[in-house]
Symmetry: C2
Amino acid sequence: MLRKPYLLYLGDDVLKSDCNTALGLRDWCGEDVIGEWSHPAAKASLGLPRLTPGDAALQGAGSIVVGVAPTGGVLPEHWQDDLEAALTAGLDAVSGLHTRLASLPRLVRAAAQAGTRLVDVRNPAGAYPVGSGRKRTGRRVLTVGTDCALGKKYTALALARALRAKGAAATFRATGQTGIMIAGSGIPMDALVADFLAGAAEALSPDNDPAHWDVIEGQGSLLHPAYAAVTLGLLHGSQPDAIVLCHAPERVTIEEYPDYPIPPLSQVIDEYVRAGRLTNRNIRCVGVSINSSTLDDDGWRSYRAQLERELQLPVCDPMRGGVEPIVDALLAR
Amino acid sequence: MLRKPYLLYLGDDVLKSDCNTALGLRDWCGEDVIGEWSHPAAKASLGLPRLTPGDAALQGAGSIVVGVAPTGGVLPEHWQDDLEAALTAGLDAVSGLHTRLASLPRLVRAAAQAGTRLVDVRNPAGAYPVGSGRKRTGRRVLTVGTDCALGKKYTALALARALRAKGAAATFRATGQTGIMIAGSGIPMDALVADFLAGAAEALSPDNDPAHWDVIEGQGSLLHPAYAAVTLGLLHGSQPDAIVLCHAPERVTIEEYPDYPIPPLSQVIDEYVRAGRLTNRNIRCVGVSINSSTLDDDGWRSYRAQLERELQLPVCDPMRGGVEPIVDALLAR
C-alpha cells in the first residue's frame, strides 16, 4: 500500500514526453496529487501547484513519486539530493525506475533516520501462494492485447471510471508499475517468480460482492514470443468473465519481433477465449479498444465500422469518444 | 555446472521411498556416482560402495549430493555434521531441498574455509535475457504432460538414452532440480522471474549441429490452473520440433484440483500444438509416454492398443518396453 496523496517529482532536464508516469498519475488519480516539485534547473512542468517537500508534508502528502524517466535510466546524483530532502521531511519515496531506491546508500540512510520508506514498485512486495483454481465471487474484466504497450492500462482505467459513472461498483487492479502508483497498490506481474504467477493474480482480485467489477490491467500478449507466459498466468489467475482486446492498427508484427505477425483480431480473440476457459468456462470478449492515434477522423470512422461489422462487437478508442459502448455490453450480461 | 562424480548422501531414518533423488541419480547417471554415505543410524542403502567423504574425495569425488528428502522438509542438525565434514574434505555440497544450504551458517562457514561450494539447485544460477523468438539450429523434442509429476523427466531421459543408442547425437536438458543433478547443469524453470521464462528456455538449448537432438525435460501442464504459465514459457522458448505427451491413466483430474478434469488426450495434444506453433510452425506430436504402473499386463496391452488406434501415434511406457517406437518416429521425420 502506497501512502497518498502524492507529490510528483519531475527531476530536471527532461522532456514532457519523459513524464509519462507523472502524466498518468495526474490524469487518473488527480485527486491524490497534491502538487509537483523539481530541481531548480527543471524545464518541465505539469502546471500543478509547486510545493517543496516540507510544504507538501505540512499539507498532508504521504509520498514523493519519481514521475519521470531520467535519460539512460540511472538516477542522477542531484535528484538524490531532492529525494533525500523529501525523505527527511517525512515523505515516503516511490519509484518505478530500474535503479532501485533501496540500492542507493544515501537514501537508505535518510529513510532509516526519518522513519520513512523507500518503495520500488517493480519489486513484488511479498510472497504469494500457488494458484488454487477456485472460483471467486464478484465479476472480473481483464484487458488483453495483441502486443505490449498499446493501451491495456489506459483501457482498464477508462473502463473502471466509466463503470463507476454508471453507478456500478468497480475497482481498477494494477499489474504494472505506473498502474500500481495510480491505484496505490497492486502486483508487478512480470517480476514474480514464475510458479506464483496465477496465485498472485488470484490474490489481486479476491472474493467480492456479486455485482462488483474488478477491472484488471493486462500484461504482455499471448502472441508474444518472450512474454506470453506472464499473460497466461495473469489470465488464468484472474478468471475473467469478460475480456477487452486492445490493439493499435499500425502494428503489423509484434514490436521489435518482425518475424511475429499479428493475426486477424477474430483469431486473437479466439486464442484468448480458449486459454481463459481453463479457469472460467463463461469467459467472453465484450469489446475491442483501439489506440487510433495514427488515424485521422475519416480513417478511424471507417476502420471502426469495418471492425464492428467483422467482429460483431463494440469497438472504441478511450481517447476518442470513450468506452461507454463496451461498458454497456459488460453491464448487459 | 555441478562437480561430478557424486557421493550420494542418504541421511538417516528415511524410507527407500524418500530416496527418489538418489535413485534417479543412480539410474540415470550411474557412471557419475562413486558411492553412498549416510549417518551411522541410517536404515536405507542403495547397495553402492559405502565411502566416507574423505575417502570419496581421495577417489576423485567432486560433490556430496543430498539424495533424500528429510521428513518435514527441514535439514536435521546431525545431517549438517555430515555435510560439514564433506565440505571440509573438499567436496561441494549439492541440494534440491526447500531449506537452502546457503541459509545455514555452519555450512557457509565450512565451505568458505575449505574453498568448496554450496549449490542449491532450486535457485537459478544467473540472469537470463528476454526471449528473442529467433529460430535456432539443431533439433528439439520437449516432453509435455496432462499434469505434474507423471513422468516428463523420466521420459526425456529415456528418449535421450534411446536416441544415443541408435547413434544419434542427443543431449538431455534439465529444467527441474533432480534433472539438473543428473545432467550436472540446467535451469530450474519454476524459480525464474516470469519475464525471463522464454529467454531462459532459449538459453537452455542453444544453436547446435543440424542433426543434434536436445531432449528437454518438460514442466507442469498447460491444463494446470497454477502452473500453465511456466509450461507455456518453456514451450515457447524451447521451440520444439516435436513433443511427446506424458500421462498416467488413473489421473482423471489434475492432482489436488478435483474441479479440473483432464480432457481426451487428442484434445490435449491439440492444445500443445496450437500453443507451440507461435515459435515453431512445424511442431508436431510424435508419441505418447504412459506411466502404466497402475495397470496389469492385460490392462496395459489393451489401453495401449486402444490409444494407438485413437491417436495414430506410438504409445510407450519407458519402464515397460522402452521408448524405441517414439524414437523411430522422431528419427523418421
